[in-house]
């Protein structure tokens, strides 16, 4: 995820010589989408998706930027963005660990995995650790129930995980924990 982000941003700065007025060239990518969408107000959700892709999350500045570009009231943009679970408002951690808590994974002990990672790195499910190194998320069902319990670490889907293997995995990328 972070790799894709840097690559995209790098690509943007290469192709667009001029600096974005905001001082952050990543807004060029949002502008590009807005232009393609002809600044139509019904493109709000798509624009928010693009902005989240580019920045990794939606900050208040980004929401205000989108509201201005589409000439929409800020409260409406905020309302739409918060309505959907897919939009996040906190910067994601360097690494992400998503544990599936769907029925099959739950039966196979997904809750223990969540609890273990949460305790070891003192990060509540759905949030990012204080040092910004790890985001712990839960998913409803990833559709691979045969692999239960499923853990997605930095975009890689891993089946048949247990507490130990998951902790090992996270420790390998993030560090000792605690």
């Amino acid at each position: 995820m972070s790799d894709t982000r840097t690559r995209r941003v790098a690509g943007a700065t290469d192709s667009q010589q001029g600096d974005h007025p905001s001082g952050d060239n990543r807004f060029d990518l949002v502008d590009k989408h807005l232009k393609r969408a002809r600044y139509e107000q019904d493109q709000l959700i798509e624009t928010l998706h693009v902005a989240q892709d580019v920045f990794g999350y939606l900050s208040e500045d980004i929401l205000i930027y989108v509201a201005r570009a589409l000439r929409l009231p800020p409260s409406m943009v905020y309302g739409v963005a918060t309505f959907y679970h897919l939009f996040t408002f906190d910067p994601p951690g360097d690494h992400s660990c998503t544990v599936c808590t769907g029925t099959a994974c739950f039966v196979k002990g997904a809750d223990d995995i969540v609890q273990a990672v949460s305790d070891t790195y003192s990060v509540p499910a759905g949030e990012t650790s204080e040092d910004g190194s790890l985001t712990l998320k839960t998913a409803r069902c990833l559709g691979s129930c045969g692999l239960a319990p499923v853990v997605v670490f930095d975009g890689n889907v891993l089946g048949h995980q247990d507490t130990e293997s998951t902790l090992e995995l996270v420790a390998g990328a993030v560090g000792g924990g605690g």
Partner: protein, 247 residues
Amino acid sequence: MRDTRPTVNISFDGVDYEGYVGESVLECARRNGVTIPSLCFLEGLSVWGGCRICVVEVAEGHRLRPACATQVTPDMEIKIETPRLRAYRKSVLELLFAEGNHVCAVCVSNGKCELQDMAVFSGMDHVRYDYQAPRREVDASHPKYVFDPNRCILCTRCVRVCDEIEGAHVWDISYRGEHAELITEMNRPWGDSLSCTWCGKCVAVCPTGSLAYEGRSIGEMEHDPVMIKRLAVARSRGEWLDPEGAI
């Protein structure tokens, strides 16, 4: 002024009435003096259909439909007072009371509250559901008004009046489900809002004590939702000094 719109024959609880094509069931009932209880509906604003208090039974299959968002059709048989509907309305009200923190005894609108009136009208004397008792912060940052989300039932009258009549769109609803809450601009204190014109229409239309004038004590807040109808008539017909005729 004679109305020349085409008409349809409909009936409310077995009594025949005449409805206009394109009219909603609720509008038709109000025009004919038939009572259908409602909460989020307000004449002069767009239809929201969110409170589900105004549901009626329509004969074909006894389907429940919101009267405010259903148009009259020829030979429509509408039931308003049936045991099922009475029970349904009561449940909806109980859920509204369980969802927020509605404590009438300490509310600015005690005795002048549409939600309270509705509970009395429907005979809702207790709540069968667990109170959610959410923790919600009162926003008293505005110099003239106070917003108490604990008393909010998310009828969106304020959202609609601010957008449609005043044209400022200061209010909107954030998040969803049990976490849904009214916000001003980017979820910033109301007092910091740049777009709020202080017009007070949102306060005028609030059916509960959620929006009130600053400094009102228990039972001292009287809202004026009919103001919107007066304003609509004034603007459309150019009649500003005839509030009686407007209502």
